[in-house]
């Protein structure tokens, strides 16, 4: 035990400062989660593995709230395949499902092979049996893939554990100077890497529909410009740098167009750029502020924020022109809406008439009812996982900008505080596998 503490202390002492490593704190879960035993996987090869797959799987499942992984200490044995699973033993400790597996490698130069099985304790049957292979660097990806498979098998909803998040970190260097970084990490905050490092602001990162490219606003040339950036190669291209605001890029569902905000004509207006020809079409032009465009799945309708009615509210417009329609009426501030197809609803930043707080809310487009999901005061930038089950947003915690997540039904919450800097502007990737 003392040795373990020592290891932990050394680990803490050596954790890199300035790396914006995100750590997870679960703050609220469901009342009656499904108990699942994720048994340590068998590994007979040489040395310790770089990643602990069952631990990653248990963490993934715990984070979404519907599952409660059983402690290793409570397990009566560590079987590695279905033939070793005695259902009575697992029922005795309250497990509803048991995940077992083993990892092997034919030789040091061969890929790892991960064989796993999922057992239903009450029905006493095997419900998943799969084999995955990959390099040492891919063990974490394999773990998230197993989480995706288990989640889909048990909930009927596609898992989103193998997705990634983009976010912006900023550190004050004093004297009005900052260090801004665009970061990419796994959906659990692990493996962060820096895509762009700048002394000038970086804003509004967003994904292309395939997840191969991203776009963002960077002030690196001392003026705002919209860039597109290929994640695998780092190759980038400047799309616009008109005088005034160049902001809020949003790829169309088919990837051929990009909605954006330009204020070159005097006030911020919504445009759509044809990425093939670079031709710009103004979709919403008003002397008020029009900003924060987001596509509806039809690829023809844009949601956006406008204060044309006096206060910021959410509107929609057809990209081909025509009538602009206001969608939000409840509250003094509704902005930066995203469409949630699973609910036919908007996820947005909301301030109630009698409140000082900016919170994440869901407004049904069918009934108009507004459900407030977050509980803090300075919440912004909601982004929805591609399976529609969780959403992430930026907020403040202990005087620092952090990312937090909440399930769409409001029952599950967790925080991803950063070790060293203010983080914000999260963008959840589409499915990448």
């Amino acid at each position: 035990m003392r040795a373990l503490w020592l290891v932990l202390l050394i680990g803490l002492a050596w954790s890199p400062v300035g790396s914006a490593q995100l750590t997870i704190e679960i703050t609220e879960g469901q009342d009656d989660p499904t108990a699942i035993a994720v048994v340590p996987f068998e590994w007979r090869g040489r040395g310790a593995l770089a990643e602990n797959i069952p631990e990653i799987v248990a963490g993934d499942l715990q984070r979404v709230g519907q599952f409660s992984p059983i402690d290793k200490e409570d397990m009566l044995g560590f079987p590695s395949q279905s033939s070793g699973v005695f259902f009575r033993d697992w029922r005795a400790i309250g497990a509803e499902y048991v995940l077992v597996g083993k990892i092997s490698q034919a030789s040091a130069s061969d890929p790892y092979v991960v064989q796993y099985e999922l057992m239903d304790v009450y029905r006493q049957q095997r419900i998943l049996n799969k084999r995955l292979r990959g390099t040492g660097a891919q063990l974490r990806d394999i773990a998230h893939q197993i989480s995706d498979d288990v989640y889909e098998q048990l909930t009927g909803i596609r898992g989103a554990f193998s997705t990634r998040i983009l976010f912006v970190s900023s550190q004050s260097l004093g004297k009005g100077k900052f260090k801004y970084q665009l970061k990419l990490a796994d959906s659990d905050g692990a493996r962060p890497r820096t895509l762009l490092d700048s002394a000038e602001p970086i804003m509004s990162p967003t994904w292309s529909p395939t997840g191969r490219e991203i776009a963002y606003v960077s002030f690196e040339s001392s003026r705002p410009a919209i860039y597109r950036h290929e994640v695998a190669t780092g190759r980038r291209e400047k799309l616009t740098d008109f005088p005034g605001i160049n902001g809020a890029p949003a790829w169309s569902p088919n990837g051929r167009y990009m909605a954006m905000v330009l204020s070159k004509d005097g006030s911020p207006d919504i445009y759509v750029m044809d990425l093939g020809t670079r031709a710009l079409t103004k979709v919403a032009g008003h002397y008020a502020i029009d900003t924060e465009p987001a596509w509806m799945p039809d690829g023809k309708t844009l949601l956006f924020t406008s204060d044309r009615g006096g206060r910021p509210q959410v509107y929609k417009a057809n990209v081909m022109g025509g009538k602009v329609e206001r969608l939000t009426f409840y509250g003094s501030y509704n902005a930066r809406a995203r469409y949630l197809p699973e609910r036919n609803a908007l996820v947005l930043v909301h301030r109630a008439d009698d409140s000082r707080s900016f919170q994440i809310a869901i407004q049904s487009l069918e009934t108009g009812t507004m459900q407030i999901l977050s509980r803090t005061e300075l919440d912004e930038s909601p982004t929805v996982a591609p399976n529609g089950a969780m959403l992430m947003y930026a907020t403040q915690y202990k005087n620092r900008g952090i990312l937090a997540a909440v399930s769409v039904d409001g029952s599950v919450r967790f925080r991803l505080p950063s070790s060293s800097s203010d983080v914000r502007d999260p963008a959840w990737s589409p499915y990448l596998n």
Binding site: S170, S172, G176, F178, Y180, P201, M203, S204, F219, S222, R223, P224, G244, I245, G247, A248, V261, S263, S267, P268, Y287, A288, I289, T291, E292, T305, D307, R308, G309, G310, R311, P312, Y333, A335, R336, V349, R351, F358, L378, E380, S381, Q396, N399, R424, D425
Partner: protein, 176 residues
């Protein structure tokens, strides 16, 4: 003679104040249409104002930075109207800019409440409100550059009204 000039100047400033009051940050649609109309007439009125100021102050403006003039102008929450107390300093900057051909950069900023892109737009509106004021005072538009940083470059790092009021600002920077 001097009395008459001062009177005209006061009238001009009053006109500008009325004009700026019309450009509230969150006007109703009717208000905004009215403000746009007034702005159209403001373009021709500004020449008079500029002539009066020059006559009043003589040809050379003193170096505004050496004179210790304010270069940061603060705004009320969710507003882009100029506060009355910033006009004297802006008038001095305008005199200087009219007489020298220097470039000035107006950097608009906001506090952290609300969404980042909306705050970017709001901070741009603030920078443009100052630019319009300088323009009405006779500074050629070619000498004025505006940029909005929204809430991305806070001057104060706290998360309370004291910090927010310092962050809702436009910084005037001479580029010479």
């Amino acid at each position: 003679m001097i009395d008459r000039t001062i009177l005209k100047t006061v009238a001009s400033i009053g006109f500008v104040a009325a004009l700026l009051a019309g450009c509230s940050s969150s006007p109703s649609e009717d208000d905004m249409a009215a403000a746009t109309d007034v702005y159209g007439r403001g373009e021709s009125a500004r020449v008079d104002a500029a002539d009066d100021r020059a006559a009043l102050r003589g040809e050379s403006g003193d170096d505004p930075l050496a004179a210790g003039l304010d270069t940061v102008f603060y705004f009320d929450f969710d507003k882009s109207e100029l506060r009355v107390d910033v006009r004297a300093a802006l008038d001095e900057h305008a005199v200087y800019l009219r007489n020298k051909s220097g470039l000035v950069r107006l950097e608009g900023h906001g506090d952290e409440r609300g969404t980042r892109e909306y705050n970017l737009a709001l901070a741009e509106r603030r920078a443009r409100a100052i630019a319009n004021y300088l323009s009405i005072q006779g500074v050629p538009n070619s000498q004025i550059e505006t940029i909005s940083y929204g809430e991305e470059k806070p001057a104060a790092l706290g998360h309370n009204e004291a910090a927010w009021s310092k962050n809702r600002r436009v910084e005037l920077i001479y580029l010479d």
